[in-house]
């Protein structure tokens, strides 16, 4: 398949300056003002471009370049704000000038039908972009930023929530302490920014190719240490329309069973906590019980959110479901990490919550798509699987299955290849 005409290119070394991180939001104020002004111009340009594309079947080159620069600039500003990149960006959205950059192909022929109904067609992408990046769905005007420190322009508004904001806040703390951006956070942000850029490229008529939510296109780098909880997807994307239609009710027996199991799992986790604190590792039986519980959660989440098709079993047995978890056997765990597990798990649960809302969007769109086409789009399916994997890792961390922290980068579909420092990773998302 041809690569998407809008691609994010990452050439970031993960190093962050503590001083600029501390004042990042304030430092961004001139960019936010300029972005607001530019947004007004982009709105007018997009309006003209719509008529021109409708008439000529392609966007005029000057307008295309102007809007491409706008999308590129907005992505630079967002990358700067969310700490996905370190340097202060330029004001013109120059290509190749920033570590998190956007490549945009020259104008191509576009379908007049898709152009005519562009705004309507863009609604699902805008909703998903909003849940990933937050604020992408906003209209004109300004809103108070989510951090309460400044007002942000609404088109590329930083205020609407979204996982990017949660990750940015956590990254802010991490960068202040470590002077380095966690790899997983940066890769997630690059992915979210790529989807945002593609969405706005679509809305602003830079292309008629629909944004792809697939974290696998292209995949991010694998994490430095292999996670103890991994997801395995063997789903053929076929969906039974009948079971999709009634999915919300078919899950009910599982919901009841999961609730009962959760009570037992809570007690098992408390026992496991004491055991791990005392012995440095948990009992095999407890580990197996809690691993089955977490796996069962992943199975029913995949079923409920249309990430998989078959009705799952009730036992959380490994290898029985097309969206499955591979969980490592019990290993030694740090007693310090065990002692403070509940507090340490909190940031991961924030991210998990954000990805949970993304999963909900995936489920809603998957429901409609599955019902109409009998299939699940690959991008949505993979995004759902990624969100389930992160949530499962957060569960596994909390339930003491591992002391390895959940990894937020969408790396699942990465091909093993040697990583070279500072080599551009095409869309490290």
């Amino acid at each position: 398949m041809k690569p998407h005409p809008i691609r994010v290119v990452v050439a970031d070394d993960l190093v962050r300056s503590r001083l600029t991180v501390l004042f990042r939001l304030l430092l961004a104020i001139p960019h936010l003002v300029w972005l607001l002004i530019w947004s007004i111009g982009a709105l007018v340009a997009a309006f003209v471009s719509w008529f021109a594309t409708l008439a000529a079947g392609r966007s005029p080159r000057p307008l295309h370049d102007f809007l491409a620069a706008y999308v590129r600039y907005a992505t630079h500003v967002y990358a700067y704000l969310s700490l996905a990149a370190n340097p202060f960006p330029g004001f013109v959205g120059e290509a190749g000038s920033y570590p998190v950059d956007v490549e945009i192909d020259p104008p191509e022929r576009q379908s007049r039908w898709k152009t005519g109904f562009r705004l309507v067609l863009a609604v699902p992408a805008l909703v998903l972009a909003n849940s990933l990046v937050g604020g992408f769905g906003g209209g004109g005007g300004t809103r108070t930023g989510g951090t309460g420190e400044a007002d942000a322009p609404a088109w590329f508004d930083f205020s609407g929530g979204g996982v990017l904001l949660v990750v940015a806040l956590l990254a802010w703390l991490a960068c202040l302490v470590l002077a380095r951006m966690p790899h997983g956070f940066r890769d997630f942000q690059a992915y979210a920014l790529r989807y945002g850029a593609q969405t706005w490229g679509y809305v602003l008529l830079l292309t008629d190719r629909y944004p792809t939510s697939d974290p696998a296109l292209p995949a991010a780098q694998p994490p430095p240490k292999p996670p103890a909880v991994r997801i395995a997807v063997e789903d053929d994307r076929r969906r039974s329309r009948l079971s999709v239609f009634f999915r919300g009710l078919l899950i009910l027996p599982h919901a009841v069973w999961f609730l009962l199991w959760s009570i037992a799992a809570l007690f098992a986790a408390v026992v496991s906590w004491f055991v791990t604190l005392a012995a440095g590792r948990t009992f095999v039986g407890l580990h197996r019980f809690l691993a089955a519980y977490v796996r069962y959660w992943a199975h029913i989440a995949a079923y409920f959110f249309i990430v998989a098709n078959p009705f799952p079993g009730f036992t959380g047995t490994a290898g029985t479901y097309p969206v499955d978890l591979q969980i490592d056997p019990p290993a030694r765990q740090s007693r310090w990490v065990t002692l403070f597990r509940l507090f340490l798990a909190f940031p991961a649960w924030l991210v998990a919550g954000g990805l949970g809302s993304v999963l909900l969007v995936v489920g809603v769109f998957g429901w409609f798509t599955g019902l109409v086409t009998g299939r699940m789009p690959e991008g949505l399916r993979n995004l759902g699987a990624y969100a389930i994997r992160y949530n499962a890792q957060a569960h596994a961390y909390l339930y003491l299955l591992t002391d390895r922290y959940p990894y937020s980068g969408p790396w699942e579909w990465a091909r093993p290849e040697p990583e070279e420092e500072l080599e551009p990773e095409v869309a490290a998302a």
Partner: protein, 420 residues
């Protein structure tokens, strides 16, 4: 082998066969006797067996216009009901034939897959019955019997389907769980478990009905105390008023619960001024009659009479598909269950009418006010648009209460008997 010896061998084989089948035959005979005894006991009633009901014409109860409206109203609902029932049979018939294909939609074990197949069966049924339900609602709204909007109705129906899913999963868990170790004999403990569940359901039902408030009318409360005493109840059960006027204008009441959960529930449409206090007292006495004559227990007993043979027939019918151990049998089991329920409908309705007639009789004995009873039954013709004398097929298949003409006739018969 000579012919005489062959005859002797055949005779011995026949005797062995008879000896082998004798215990089963005796067991079946004992079961049939127990069934007949149970039926006889449940059919006992306070209504005198020699009661001679006078002929009451529908035209004596309602004016020509009222009668026409009630008949017109019920005619549509009857056809709607019949079509819906036929659709149920058709859907489950097709599902029994093709439903096992959905096993490939499951990654669960045999019981989980059985649950999925059962839920999908009910899901298909819900879809197929939706138009009939909506048509019925449209008709009720048109005649101002229902005031529920379509969206709320669909939502409630959808949520109800969720409840049905949970129940059917529990049923499949029990049946398939028992069929694992017991194979074709699951129906013996299975029938007992289902009767137990029926008792549990009868007990908790009053707590599940929404929007209940205690009855506050002192006169009606005093009447309740008096009637309960007269009917031999140790203490008067609580009387609750259920708010339904948002959805319907039809009057109704019910007795529900077992032991400590027993109560009488009056719909607030009964207390909106359309009915005189004497008529409401008849309703109270009727519902208390259900409780004093243990009708809820009788209904459970009636259910037990059918639960065991029904479970046995399902076990037999599904044997060729591997029995209820196998998930593939579930669609066929559903079809058999629905078919048997349809066949049992006339008997079920007859028993229900029998109990209602007894409650009417007890109410007449308690209130000793046949005029109020007759006025109440007549007003059902105008407020609930009930046909006083429905066609026989509809009476047999649909009516859980005696026809209004029969109820008025019973009040007249009681009066005549009391004057003697």
């Amino acid at each position: 082998m000579g012919p005489a010896r062959a005859r002797g061998g055949a005779g011995a084989g026949g005797r062995r066969r008879i000896a082998r089948r004798l215990p089963l035959a005796l067991l079946l005979a004992a079961f049939a006797a127990a069934w007949a005894a149970g039926f006889y006991l449940l059919w006992q009633s306070d209504v005198p067996s020699d009661l001679d009901l006078p002929a009451v014409e529908a035209s004596e109860l309602l004016s020509a216009a009222e009668l026409e409206e009630a008949r017109d109203y019920e005619r549509f609902l009857r056809i709607d009901f019949l079509l819906a029932e036929l659709t149920v049979l058709l859907v489950f018939g097709l599902y029994a034939r093709y439903g096992d294909r959905f096993t490939r939609e499951s990654a669960a074990g045999r019981i989980g897959t059985g649950m999925l197949l059962a839920m999908l069966g009910f899901a298909l049924l819900w879809l197929a019955q939706l138009p009939f339900g909506l048509a019925g609602l449209w008709w009720e709204r048109r005649h101002e019997v229902s005031e529920q909007d379509y969206g709320t109705w669909i939502l409630e129906s959808w949520l109800g389907l969720g409840g049905a899913f949970l129940f059917v999963c529990l049923a499949i868990l029990i049946v398939m769980g028992l069929a694992g170790p017991l194979r074709d004999h699951w129906w013996i403990p299975g029938g007992a478990v289902f009767v137990g569940l029926a008792v549990l359901f009868a007990f908790v039902l009053p707590y599940m009905l929404p929007s209940q408030e205690p009855l506050r009318d002192p006169g009606l409360l005093a009447a309740t105390e008096r009637f309960a005493r007269d009917q031999g109840l140790e203490e008067a059960p609580p009387v609750r008023v259920q708010e339904v006027r948002e959805f319907t204008t039809a009057p109704n009441a019910e007795a529900a619960g077992l032991g400590p959960s027993r109560r009488v529930i009056l719909w607030d449409t009964l207390l909106d001024g359309r009915f005189a206090d004497a008529e409401i007292r008849v309703v109270l006495a009727h519902e208390l009659g259900h409780l004093s004559r243990e009708h809820i227990w009788k209904l459970v007993g009636w259910y037990a009479l059918f639960a065991f043979p029904g479970a046995f027939l399902i076990a037999r019918a599904t044997r060729r598909r591997g029995g209820m151990r196998e998930a593939e049998s579930v669609p066929l089991a559903l079809f058999v269950l629905v078919g048997l329920s349809f066949l049992a409908l006339p008997l079920q309705n007859a028993f229900s009418r029998h109990l209602e007639a007894e409650a009417d009789w007890v109410a007449l004995e308690t209130t000793r006010d046949p005029e109020a009873a007759q006025a109440l039954f007549r007003s059902f013709g105008t407020t609930a648009l009930a046909d006083p004398s429905p066609p026989t097929w509809s009476y047999v298949l649909m009516e859980t209460h005696p026809a209004l003409a029969e109820r008025v006739a019973m009040a007249e018969a009681w009066e005549a008997r009391a004057e003697r």
